[in-house]
């Protein structure tokens, strides 16, 4: 169950308490996030919406251990990540976070198979075990027959499927999706969101997603709005869409 009001103890998988992020640009301080609290349970699918500059991607970067907060704490499965060293944080990301980016961010000189295999190169798995994991991940995203294709030989939707396979291949604790359909047409976007929903429903993955698209957000179990660095509302997607006046 997602909560934005709890500032005390909880048993949630992801616990954010009093999160602040301030950037300094020239002499000016820009407060991007202000005292955020958030609880996300295992198997939750949360969409973050909000206007540009509202702090969605910053929140995602902080949750993924790519950036450090100015104040506040983030705990994931009991690990407090906000005070980890850079090296520890890198190790933590490898074990716990699967990233899906808007622009897919595949390595163009590697095949789909090799791209998906990348996170497993950091593990102690043997070559055979790695192959089994990669084939399973590519099978889940429906690209078992595209293993030896390079990104340039795939459509945008297929590239994003490979990126999702890369994100899930090491079975991370949660997935962070930053505008996963932002560069896709509606049909491809629907297919990708069907896949993400399937990951949550069938494989019990925890997904946190940033999107501008209200239609895409309807796929999430919970939609949270970020405005000027504050989580201002939480609700069921259909209510959210109704509030936003969208589809």
């Amino acid at each position: 169950m997602v909560s934005v009001n709890n500032n005390g103890h909880s048993t949630a998988l992801i616990q954010v308490r009093g999160l602040n992020k301030t950037y300094r640009r020239g002499g000016e301080e820009i407060q991007v996030l202000q005292g955020l609290n958030l609880d996300v349970d295992k198997g939750d699918f949360v969409a973050f919406m909000g206007p540009s500059g509202s702090g969605k991607t910053t929140l995602l970067n902080l949750l993924g251990g790519l950036d450090v907060p100015t104040a506040g704490t983030i705990s994931v499965a009991g690990d407090e990540i906000t005070h980890m060293s850079s090296g520890k944080l890198t190790e933590w990301r490898a074990r716990h976070v699967g990233f899906v980016f808007q622009m897919y961010n595949l390595i163009p000189v590697l095949t789909a198979y090799q791209n998906v295999e990348l996170p497993l190169l950091l593990t102690r798995l043997s070559g055979t075990e790695r192959r089994q994991h990669v084939e399973a991940a590519l099978s889940i995203v429906g690209l078992a027959d595209r293993t030896h294709h390079f990104p340039r030989q795939l459509s945008g939707g297929q590239e994003q499927r490979v990126a999702i396979a890369r994100a899930i291949v090491s079975d991370p604790t949660f997935l962070l999706c930053d505008e996963p359909t932002g560069d896709l047409d509606r049909k491809s976007a629907d297919e990708i969101m069907a896949l993400v929903t399937e990951l949550v429903d069938k494989h019990a993955k925890t997904v946190l997603m940033v999107t501008h698209d209200p239609v895409v957000a309807t796929r999430a179990q919970t939609v949270l709005h970020l405005e000027k660095g504050v989580l201002v509302e939480a609700g069921k997607p259909r209510q959210d869409v109704a509030v936003g006046g969208g589809a």
Partner: protein, 383 residues
């Protein structure tokens, strides 16, 4: 090994750039090998010079001769074990381009002073008995296809009108020292002396003496030069290695020249490959950020960049050295003995590979550190 595919894929990302960078290394290492070979050729005389040998030359210069009577006086100096003398002959075989060093030698004492030149006893005895006899180094004999028993005409114009001196090849010598000179051609000093104009008769080009002990070198050299001071042919005595070094310096400061060219090559190569690697890393900022985002550590990213750079350097370097191994003997033959033996030694190859690896590592280091310090959030924002 599990990262091999990733490194290989990145290496072949831009094939033309890869080929050009490999070519830069190959050309640089090819040039490096040539410079080292030329330097070693000039310094080889110094390296293989006997520690217990002194060379006596005319103080005015190497081309001035000294009376043959000096031999007995030098031999009488305490500490001198044996004395021999050489005279430059300076002929050509068939054609002007067929240059090789020819010396009129003192057959009685030559082997006592130069034990490293190996001539079978039978051949040496035939040579001593044969006034028109000659002995050639194995390299020269091979070069002209000579064999023992051949009649060798050598044209000479240094001692009067050009005429052909005929020699019987009685033997072929080898050297026991690695890199030793096997290009010389020896004739008998007596035969030479009988056939030169009267002004050149009873003279020696230089004396070479062997000492009882290298410790006597300074004292003996001083005694010799004092003995012939204020004579018509004053002497300059020095160790064989100093003589060889002085001889090499007649061609200029080869070492400085080679060091200068080598330094320019090194820094040019460093700039070229450093720039190439920097561009290559800059083009992949987003990809490197993704690698770091999914859990590759900073040092892994540094390793990938360095590995690419070092791999290019190693392959390019080996290519250049391989070409040098093939080309140097061809060039050596084409030079017709104008330079001493061109030999690409194993140590030069090792230094060359080390040089390539050092340039590869140095050129990959800065871009690698840049990639290592890349902040994922900033880099992803730029994609």
């Amino acid at each position: 090994m599990k990262f091999f595919q990733l490194i290989k894929a990145n290496l072949f990302r831009k094939k033309v750039r890869l080929l050009l960078t490999l070519g830069s290394f190959a050309v640089a290492l090819f040039l490096f090998a040539f410079l080292v070979v030329v330097k070693e050729a000039f310094s080889r005389g110094v390296d293989i010079a006997g520690a217990d040998r002194l060379v006596v030359v005319n103080r005015i210069g190497l081309i001035q001769v000294m009376p043959i009577s000096y031999r007995d006086k030098i031999a009488a100096i305490p500490g001198v074990k044996a004395v021999t003398h050489d005279h430059w002959f300076g002929g050509v075989y068939q054609d002007e381009k067929n240059f090789f060093p020819q010396f009129a030698i003192d057959v009685e004492n030559h082997r006592l002073v130069y034990p490293e030149f190996i001539v079978p006893d039978v051949q040496w005895k035939n040579f001593v008995k044969d006034q028109q006899g000659a002995i050639a180094g194995a390299q020269t004999a091979k070069r002209f296809g000579w064999k023992v028993g051949d009649r060798i005409p050598v044209k000479n114009s240094l001692y009067g009108p050009t005429k052909s001196w005929e020699f019987n090849l009685d033997g072929i010598y080898h050297t026991e020292k690695s890199g030793g000179d096997e290009s010389q051609f020896w004739l008998q000093w007596k035969y030479f002396d009988e056939n030169v104009p009267s002004v050149m008769k009873s003279t020696a080009g230089w004396y070479i003496l062997r000492l009882d002990s290298p410790d006597d070198a300074v004292r003996v050299a001083k005694t010799i030069d004092e003995t012939f001071a204020n004579s018509s042919s004053e002497t300059k005595t020095e160790t064989e290695s100093a003589f060889a070094a002085g001889f090499a310096k007649q061609f200029g400061n080869i070492e400085f020249l080679i060091l200068s060219i080598g330094s320019v090559v090194f820094f040019t190569l460093l700039l070229v490959t450093g720039n190439t690697m920097a561009i290559s890393v800059r083009e992949r900022t987003g990809e490197l950020a993704v690698l770091k985002a999914i859990g590759f550590k900073d040092r892994s990213v540094l390793f990938f960049v360095m590995a690419e750079s070092v791999a290019i350097a190693l392959v390019g370097g080996l290519l250049g050295l391989g070409l040098a191994i093939l080309a140097i003997p061809v060039v050596g033959t084409a030079l017709n003995g104008l330079l001493p033996n061109l030999i690409l030694s194993r140590s030069a190859l090792v230094v060359g590979i080390g040089f390539a690896l050092a340039v590869g590592a140095a050129s990959g280091l800065l871009p690698g550190i840049g990639a290592m310090r890349l902040r994922v959030v900033n880099a992803l924002r730029r994609v």
